[in-house]
């Protein structure tokens, strides 16, 4: 068989493999790159061939502990090493790599071969299981959120109590976990408690624990969440829902950094950072006498306001892409996106349930969609009846061009006509904004 035919046959075989495969010569230049490798990295074979493998794979170990280099130098294969790459879409992706030597017919080493599997699903499931979300999991190009990112390291470094405020579904717990994960407490526990989900008496024993004999069924000591969070962070969600009695005990902890389990005769010192969150207006609750003002001032040390999704609609296309990508992995589907019409409906909607609601809508679409693109017929029935009957300006728009016009107008209004500020908020260059203002006749 001639060399050309052999090469073609080799490519066919490589392309039939579901794992990514590439080979390199002894100068680390890529000599073959299969279809699965294209899918995982997002880089076409045409562009990959001849390039240095580190510029194509873009893994976290390429420049420090290159697996192929180790294999070529020692002759030993590396099997199923877990690494992260940045794909052509700018996404961080988990993969598992295996390396081996590449030899010619005489047994002489002529390079190396690396096979790799996309481990995004495994990582997704691991994150779901351990709730180990980080900043990379917060999807936003919104200016307000990005500003929060820039102050986050200082907040994380400090030991101050943080109050995260925002409507339900805006990602308060995600932010709390992200703060914990970049704080010096990251190696200790992050304990989340939904204060609104537990009855008053149960919440008290849940938070502070109890001693054996404290009440009828207390057969043995039970440590509370504060004890479990020792050295780490406790996340008190729905803090606006706690009773006056729990408020007093929480206040005492914040003042003295000690607590007493139910039935205990002495206090326990605790090194726990509090991150609290609420979707209620705590200032109003203080005014109404439903929330202690001294506790409010103790927890309102650093306040992080999270904008509702309707105020960061520029993030909707990003979030839609993210959820589609995530559900593709979880449901083993191959949905490529949404139609412009569906995107327009998504942009027009106000999302009282915020990001969680958008996530649920897309999950609903995934159940119904057997095609490659999500269309209006896959949307929940409420959307199909209302579709564009929303009362907002955006709801009346039909085309993406009109939508763009409304967005730009709203951004200019919010920024009092300041085009530079509006461009920054929209995430586009100011000259692009000027051009759009002119072309759209705003």
């Amino acid at each position: 068989m001639c060399k050309k035919a052999q090469s073609k046959e080799r490519d066919v075989i490589l392309d039939s493999i579901t794992e990514g495969v590439f080979t390199v010569d002894l100068d680390w230049n890529i000599t073959s790159f299969n279809r699965a490798a294209e899918d995982i990295t997002g880089i076409s074979r045409q562009k990959a061939i001849g390039q240095q493998c580190k510029d194509i794979l873009r893994a976290d170990l390429c420049e420090t502990d290159c697996a192929l280099r180790n294999t070529i130098e020692t002759g030993k294969p590396i099997i199923n090493k877990f690494v992260h790459i940045i794909d052509a879409d700018g996404n961080r992706k988990a993969i598992s790599i295996t390396t081996a030597l590449l030899k010619d017919e005489t047994g002489k080493v002529i390079g190396g071969v690396e096979t790799f599997r996309d481990m995004s699903l495994i990582e997704e499931l691991r994150k779901e299981l351990h709730h180990s979300y980080t900043f990379e999991d917060i999807i936003s190009q919104n200016h307000q959120i990005q500003n929060l990112f820039s102050i986050m390291p200082n907040i994380a470094e400090s030991n101050s109590t943080v109050l995260i405020v925002g409507e339900s579904g805006t990602g308060k717990e995600l932010f709390a976990r992200a703060i914990h994960h970049i704080s010096p407490r990251r190696d200790k526990s992050f304990v989340a408690v939904n204060c609104g989900a537990l009855p008053d008496t149960l919440l008290e024993s849940e938070l502070f624990g109890y001693k054996a004999g404290a009440f009828t069924d207390a057969k043995k000591d039970k440590p509370g969440r504060f004890a479990l969070a020792e050295g780490g962070t406790i996340f008190l969600d729905e803090i606006g829902d706690i009773s006056a009695a729990v408020q007093v005990r929480l206040l005492r902890f914040l003042q003295e950094r000690t607590f007493e389990p139910l039935g205990a005769v002495s206090s326990i010192k605790a090194d726990v950072r509090i991150v609290a969150a609420t979707n209620k207006n705590l200032e109003k609750l203080v005014k109404d006498g439903a929330f202690r003002d001294d506790l409010y001032y103790r927890i309102n040390v650093v306040k992080l306001p999270l904008p509702p999704l309707r105020d960061r609609k520029e993030d909707i296309p990003l979030l839609v892409d993210y959820f589609i990508s995530r559900f593709n992995r979880l449901h083993n589907k191959n949905i490529g996106g949404v139609t412009d019409e569906v995107l327009a409906i998504f942009l027009a909607y106000d999302y009282p349930g915020n990001i969680r609601e958008l996530e649920n809508i897309i999950e609903h679409c995934f159940v119904l969609c057997q095609d490659e693109i999500i269309e209006t017929k896959h949307l929940p029935i409420t959307f199909q009846t209302k579709e564009q009957s929303e009362s907002s300006d955006i709801g009346k728009a039909v085309t993406l061009k009109e939508m763009e016009k409304i967005f730009i107008f709203q951004a200019l209004t919010r920024n009092k006509g300041n085009r530079t500020a509006a461009a920054r908020e929209l995430g586009i260059h100011k000259s692009t904004l000027f051009r759009k203002i002119k072309s759209l006749g705003i």
């Binding site: 899918d39 873009r58 390429c62 420049e63 940045i86 700018g90 390291p153 191959n334």
Partner: protein, 138 residues
């Protein structure tokens, strides 16, 4: 103006997110004045951005970069020129000579519209829709 370039063995590091070493070049007009190098720890995005902000960086010229990191740098008023490859000296010279958009400095496989988005030109057409497994750089 301070320009930062993540470096590895005299070349622009392949991925800024995973880079360990950062070259900082002080430039006045089109003239290079001083070079220094700092180590980058493996940090979360906000911490990495903070390190650059506190070092007074105005522009970062880098290889591949994740979207969240690029967005956060931009909001922190650091201009990002991503998907650049080549030797550090050549890249720096090309930047000062306004030649960085030349094809030899373009790392293959950059996300659609990235260079345009960050104001550094480039000929990649914008592509709609995402989340499609199997799509590759055009």
């Amino acid at each position: 103006m301070k320009i930062a370039i993540p470096v590895w063995n005299g070349f622009v590091s392949s991925v800024f997110d995973f880079a360990h070493s950062l070259l900082i070049v002080d430039v006045e007009g089109k003239q290079e004045r001083r070079r220094s190098q700092i180590q980058l720890e493996q940090q979360a995005i906000p911490q990495r951005v903070n390190q650059l902000v506190s070092s007074g960086i105005d522009v970062i010229i880098c290889g591949a970069i994740s979207r969240p990191l690029a967005e956060t740098l931009t909001v922190s008023n650091i201009k990002v020129i991503p998907f650049v490859s080549g030797s550090v000296d050549e890249v720096l010279e090309a930047y000062l000579g306004n030649r960085l958009a030349e094809p030899q400095f373009l790392q293959p496989g950059c996300w659609p519209g990235v260079r345009k988005r960050f104001g550094c030109g480039g000929g990649h057409r914008h592509r709609r829709g995402a989340g499609r497994p199997g799509k590759t750089d055009p």
